[in-house]
């Protein structure tokens, strides 16, 4: 099998990640922050250790600002609904995943907020955003790297703009965490949301919400047990527990810790280079096939989107699957991006590379796609 759906979730995982999950489940998986017996403390210790790793990896000053969630979508919802107030205006790009677009749209439909959309493919990103700023613009929310194509936005410049206009900068790093160098302080990121199971090489069941030190406390969206002040009616006012209602996914958090160590051992620059090389090889090969159209080819990254003339994207992906190649067809939870790229009717096929893919995988992809057009 050749796995080319790493934008959905990376596969396989490094062996040390699997070993840590097994170790966790067999030797220290108590309920962290609940009680103070040895197993609860051992789980709490592991979670603290991973919080420190995450804050260090993303350039966040205080590990207490690292909030573990169930996934990136939960993190984004906590950020969006926790920081936006009635009457606020927010700016997003036209390449947002539904995990941003839907909560924003739901709040707007209730009359709570208003939003504007900028064109992420336009050359002057910052200028595009600046034109949309209003007096009540509270936040800018952008997808660092698109999950549809290889578009990556200039985060540092957007961060600078947000600081200048005192807007909260919320970054969805679903596709970039582990593939791009991200430093919250240096890049002016106020809120970073990311999944553990993609570029950070953890497993499913864990996401991250990382808040810049000094940011005001967000409102809670989910309330429940926190292991702190349990006789009080309100959630605690200290992070991370304020935003971590319910039991944490300790095995997935432990896996994330090993995933980050793995990413660090390879280096994000090396990973990026490797993925870009696979992208370019595939771009060259697929472009040479009559009837194959590549979308946003000027941008280099880990995700390549294409269609085959006259063949529905589902059929192409099913054919590739029959050849042992896993890709994803359709709209990738990003209808707006597909609209912009001109694939709103049938979607397209997405190939997304991971650290364990090899150049030979691009040969196999080329051969399998070529079979379709003859």
């Amino acid at each position: 099998m050749i796995y080319l759906d790493n934008a959905a979730t990376t596969f396989p995982k490094p062996p040390q990640v699997l070993r840590e999950v097994q170790k966790c489940l067999s030797s220290y998986c108590g309920n962290p922050g609940r009680g103070s017996h040895r197993l609860s403390n051992a789980a709490g210790e592991k979670i603290f250790e991973v919080r420190e790793q995450v804050s260090d990896f993303f350039g966040c000053e205080n590990s207490e600002n690292v909030v573990f969630t169930l996934n990136d979508t939960y993190a984004l919802n906590l950020a969006i609904k926790g920081f936006l107030h009635p009457g606020d205006h927010v700016i997003i790009s036209n390449f947002e995943h539904n995990s941003v677009y839907r909560p924003i749209r739901a709040m707007a439909d209730c009359g709570l907020i208003k939003f504007s959309i900028f064109d992420a493919l336009a050359p002057d990103t910052v200028g595009q955003i600046e034109k949309l700023i209003r007096k009540n613009t509270r936040a800018v929310i952008v997808n660092h790297t698109s999950n549809v194509c290889s578009l990556t936005l200039p985060v540092e410049k957007i961060g600078e703009l947000c600081r200048k206009h005192k807007m909260i900068f919320i970054l969805d790093a679903a596709q970039s965490a582990g593939h791009e160098e991200i430093h919250m302080e240096k890049m002016g990121i106020d809120v970073l949301c990311a999944p553990a199971h993609k570029g950070l090489m953890g497993i499913q069941g864990c996401g991250l919400l990382v808040l810049r030190e000094g940011l005001s406390l967000p409102e809670t969206v989910i309330e429940g047990g926190s292991g702190v002040n349990s006789l009080e009616w309100q959630m605690p006012d200290q992070l991370p527990e304020r935003l971590e209602a319910g039991t944490l996914p300790t095995p997935a958090i432990a896996a994330l810790g090993e995933g980050i160590k793995f990413v660090r051992s390879v280096g994000t620059d090396e990973i990026k280079k490797h993925l870009a090389n696979l992208f370019v090889l595939s771009l060259d090969r697929l472009s040479s096939i009559n009837g194959v159209k590549i979308y946003a080819p000027k941008h280099q990254g880990s995700t390549l989107l294409f269609t085959v003339s006259g063949i529905p994207s589902d059929t192409v992906a099913a054919h590739l699957d029959s050849c042992g190649i896993c890709t994803r067809s359709g709209f990738h939870c990003c209808p707006s991006g597909h609209n912009v790229l001109g694939t709103p009717e049938d979607g397209a096929v997405r190939v997304s590379f991971g650290i364990f893919n090899r150049e030979s995988d691009t040969d196999a992809l080329y051969r399998a796609v070529k079979e379709l057009v003859f």
């Binding site: 962290p32 922050g33 103070s36 006789l231 200290q238």
Partner: protein, 79 residues
């Protein structure tokens, strides 16, 4: 050998473990403990227990490391 213990109430387990790491690095023996009342907030919570003889050092170190302590109290257990 027995010591009179004191407790720094810190709220969450996260903050208690953080304090424990910082104090351990400074060679101050301490343990994470569960507490039930902290600075008027009722219910479960966590703190670190340490020899009362080291109270002033603990206060200084935690303050230097920006660890917010809810309250200090005298303990009745021995390390």
């Amino acid at each position: 050998m027995y010591y009179q213990n004191c407790t720094a109430s810190l709220g969450s387990q996260t903050r208690a473990i953080k304090a424990q790491h910082i104090l351990t690095r400074a060679s101050i023996p301490c343990t994470v403990v569960a507490t039930t009342v902290q600075d008027g907030k009722r219910g479960c919570g966590y703190g670190v227990e340490f020899p009362c003889s080291m109270l002033s050092q603990v206060k200084t170190i935690l303050e230097q490391n920006k660890v917010a302590v809810r309250e200090y109290s005298g303990g009745d257990r021995s390390l």
